[in-house]
């Protein structure tokens, strides 16, 4: 496995890093675009004002650290300002197809978020591009967002709004979290040393369940190509049940566990007598998210002393 990994890494490494030679060329290009911005603002004066305070702010005078110019985003023929602007219009990203805008933004913003947008983000798949959530001119919200989260997201995702009103929820409507804290991390590229993608998001905060464990709970294996993992048992937006469970963990049937473990002898278990009734499965299977020592996810006491002495199970 290591050999395959190293080989692939070296192959990509060799083709990935010819980029050091670009800096001097870009410096020269920067001088050119800064000059062009000044020319643009002679006619489009208002556009200077509505960029103030934002990350695309144009410096009042050309400076060496200027990172952005009008012509970085608005493309076209220099004839636009040298000859006739009507005959030679510049592009307006707000009116361009998503794929073009995504590529344009990626010239500077090549974060993992941007990589994902360019590849397989659901927004991209639905033709909701960068400018569906962000705005460049007149941006007043940090991140150049069109409005603050969660309103930005819930405007389209109305079905999620009600889930955040449930008794057990991630505190989005309470102002403690925002949608992007989880959803921008759904990118597989950001998955750490975990088995699966969705879990990678949850483990950012719920690190105690992160693993990898020598004994993983198989429920963390994905059911489909996009879901599974933590979502097998939890509703991450909100649930009327404690711990945001998607099924109750109540006696006598414990539907949560019985989604998978409808095992004869494990409900109304006569070997456990009356004491079993009313006791949640997780009382014994304490380390249900994964264990370092027990293949049955027993807690340390049970693992040390064993339930095998009761004669029910074979080691």
């Amino acid at each position: 496995m290591i050999t395959a990994a190293v080989f692939t890494a070296l192959l990509l490494l060799g083709t990935t890093f010819p980029f050091s030679h670009e800096s001097s060329a870009q410096d020269a290009a920067g001088e050119q675009t800064r000059r062009e911005s000044e020319v643009c603002l002679m006619c489009h004066e208002a556009q200077q004002t509505n960029l103030v305070g934002g990350p695309h702010h144009l410096p009042a005078s050309p400076r060496a650290d200027a990172r952005v110019a009008c012509t970085d985003c608005h493309l076209g023929d220099p004839a636009h300002w040298e000859e006739d602007p009507e005959t030679h219009p510049m592009t307006n990203p707000a009116r361009q197809p998503f794929a073009d805008v995504s590529g344009l933004c990626a010239q500077c913003h090549f974060s993992s978020h941007q990589q994902e947008m360019a590849a397989d983000n659901p927004h991209a798949c639905d033709d909701v591009g960068c400018l569906g959530c962000h705005q460049v001119h007149g941006a007043a919200v940090p991140g150049s967002l069109r409005q603050q989260e969660p309103g930005l997201c819930l405007g389209c995702h109305a079905e999620v709004d009600g889930e955040f009103a449930q008794p057990f929820r991630h505190p989005v409507r309470d102002g403690v979290m925002v949608c992007s804290e989880c959803h921008l991390k759904l990118d597989h590229r950001d998955a750490r040393l975990t088995f699966h993608g969705t879990g990678g998001v949850c483990f950012q905060c719920h690190m105690q369940f992160r693993g990898p464990f020598p004994h993983e709970h198989p429920a963390t294996l994905d059911f489909s190509t996009e879901e599974g993992g933590c979502l097998n048992c939890h509703d991450p937006h909100g649930s009327p049940l404690p711990k945001m469970l998607n099924q109750p963990l109540d006696a006598p049937h414990f539907p949560l566990c019985h989604q998978c473990h409808f095992v004869p002898g494990h409900y109304f278990n006569s070997f456990h007598g009356d004491r079993w009734a009313g006791m949640a499965c997780t009382l014994c299977h304490v380390d249900i998210h994964g264990s370092y020592t027990s293949p049955r996810f027993f807690g340390p006491h049970l693992q040390a002393q064993g339930c095998f002495v009761a004669g029910c199970h074979q080691p």
Partner: protein, 541 residues
């Protein structure tokens, strides 16, 4: 100094630093201070039945301290402290300097109840500190640390007795000490994790290196103490190898976890590759390869996990069609399983107002040695979703979800169906109504018998602002589990807020909690809770 005191001091020092660091630029902060009193009346056969009320106490309450705004042209601050009482509080501090980085500090502290009369409690704390620095546009450095403590008591099991009860002598002759159940009676542990990563990227290509460490210490069970560390490298690139849109991302990691007392050491190796290709504007292909190995030479334990997954998507102006296939194997010291999984689906959208999605997925797990608990498992899932914004402010939607699991060796079949719907209505700034309803039925059958459950879930909320100074709100959550279960739970909420003066407001909230398990008769709970708060809004410039 304890970890808790250290982390608190660190958070306060960060806040002081941020405020003192502002030398120029206009400060514009909006603030909110809310304090008042709580009245709580309970009638319960089981105090542990409704978790929502664990951390609500009679008496004086400091409900919220909020500061939000700008400290300068490029610096932003958010401080939010909520629900401050004798055993719970939540705090968030976020400072962002546009173009340079961000600091984030979070704290959450609460207690849990575990027995019917509320004598067994647990104190839980989570601390988080996160920093991101981008000194130049091609370099990003992130560091974060979490501290998690869990301390408290637990119900003695299997005897079911409290640890300090004088009559804790179990009838029935269970093995073990009568006063020391299999699970123990207390727990007290701390988990610390820290992570550092530096990422370099330019023109769509780059790499990152990272380190992650974790430390688990149990005061009562020292043989479970463990330490772990993982070194990782990540490489990503766009548009190389082939003359069309492609992205590649691969990540390798190597680490270890050591149980310090027992000498057990697990070696971890992971490799992941994800590639996407867009040979045509309308088609996208994604491939994922994941290899993972956990190895312990001393115990002769080795787990290998391999996953291959491909997915093809066709994009159209009005939606997409997608399909995927995956194959995975999990080979540990005792078992060998492999799984095949398929997924097909389609999504449609029109004018950003109408959306629909339908999907079908299957998964077949084969236990090649018949050694796992569940043996072979066959899953299928079908789901469909429809959502429409009929006019501005009015949205409705419905969803259908059906899934089935079959365990052919065990002779077990499980089938669940869920139907749900929602409606939202927002009328300008003076009224909003939202309602959700879900119906689910689950059917479990094995060779000896079976059981069936049925549930209704209702949630609704109405918000009104009849006059500018008065806000009214009411909400309901209702759960009913029937057939072989017989549980009802409801929460009813009424709230009003009235602006007294320009900067002050009065807030009153009344919640009624009900929980009844009609099978286990002593599991019932009722509570009436009233909050009265006076709020003060202020601005700093």
């Amino acid at each position: 100094m304890s970890c808790k005191a250290r982390t608190t001091s660190l958070g306060l020092a960060l806040l002081a630093f941020m405020l003192l660091a502002q030398t120029a630029g206009a400060v514009r902060l909006n603030g909110l201070l809310k304090l008042g009193a709580i009245s709580k009346e309970e009638e319960a056969g089981n105090l542990a039945g409704v978790q929502e009320t664990y951390n609500i106490h009679d008496g004086f309450a400091l409900s919220r301290i909020l500061l939000d705004g700008q400290l300068g042209e490029r610096s932003f601050l958010l401080l939010d402290v909520q629900n401050i009482n004798q055993d719970s509080r939540q705090a968030l501090l976020n400072y962002r300097l546009a173009g340079l980085g961000q600091l984030r500090f979070q704290h959450d502290e609460r207690r849990q109840l575990f027995d019917a009369d509320g004598r067994l409690t647990s104190e839980r704390q989570d601390w988080h500190l996160d920093a991101t620095v981008t000194p130049v546009d091609w370099l990003r450095v992130t560091a974060n640390t979490n501290l998690q403590t869990r301390e408290g008591e637990r119900l003695d099991y299997p005897t079911g007795y409290l640890a300090d009860a004088p009559d804790a002598d179990p009838p029935g002759g269970f093995p073990g000490d009568a006063h020391e159940g299999w699970l123990g009676q207390r727990y007290d542990y701390t988990l610390t994790r820290y992570q550092l990563e530096a990422e370099v990227q330019k023109s769509g290509r780059g790499f990152a290196i990272g380190y992650e460490g974790s430390d688990f210490e149990d005061e009562l069970l020292p043989w479970t103490d463990r330490r772990g560390q993982v070194f990782s490298a990540r490489l990503f690139a766009q548009d190389i190898l082939l003359p069309f849109d492609m992205t590649h991302s691969l990540r390798g990691a190597y680490g270890s976890h050591e149980l310090s007392e027992t000498g057990l050491e697990h070696e971890l190796q992971s490799f992941q590759y994800i590639g996407t290709a867009r040979p045509h504007q309308r088609f996208q292909l994604r491939y994922l390869l994941h290899l993972n190995r956990i190895e312990d030479e001393a115990a002769d334990l080795q787990t290998d996990y391999v996953r291959n997954e491909g997915r093809l998507t066709y994009h159209h102006r009005y939606g997409r069609v997608f399909g995927g296939y995956g194959y995975e194997t999990n080979d540990d010291d005792g078992t060998l399983t492999d799984s095949h999984f398929w997924e097909v689906g389609a999504a449609l959208h029109y004018q950003d107002r109408y959306r629909a999605r339908v999907r079908y997925a299957t998964r077949d797990k084969n236990d090649q040695e018949d050694l796992t608990l569940l043996k072979d498992v066959e899953d299928t899932r079908f789901d469909a979703k429809l959502q429409a914004e009929l006019v501005e402010g009015l949205a409705i939607g419905a969803a259908y979800d059906d899934r089935a699991r079959t365990y052919p060796v065990l002779g077990v079949e499980v089938e669940g169906t869920k139907v749900s719907g929602f409606g939202r209505l927002v009328l300008s700034n003076w009224a909003s109504v939202q309602a959700d309803y879900g119906y689910a039925v689950e059917d479990y059958d094995d060779r000896a018998g079976g059981f069936e459950t049925e549930s209704h879930t209702v949630a609704g909320r109405v918000q009104l602002r009849p006059i500018p100074d008065l806000g009214l709100e009411s909400g309901l959550t209702y759960l009913d589990f029937g057939k072989d279960l017989d549980i009802e739970k409801s929460i009813l909420m009424f709230a009003a807020q009235y602006d007294l003066l320009e900067d002050y407001f009065l807030e009153v909230k009344y919640n009624i909690y009900n929980y009844d398990d009609y099978i286990l008769l002593d599991r019932y709970y009722t509570a009436n809770i009233v909050w009265v708060n006076v709020g003060y809004r202020f601005g700093l410039e």
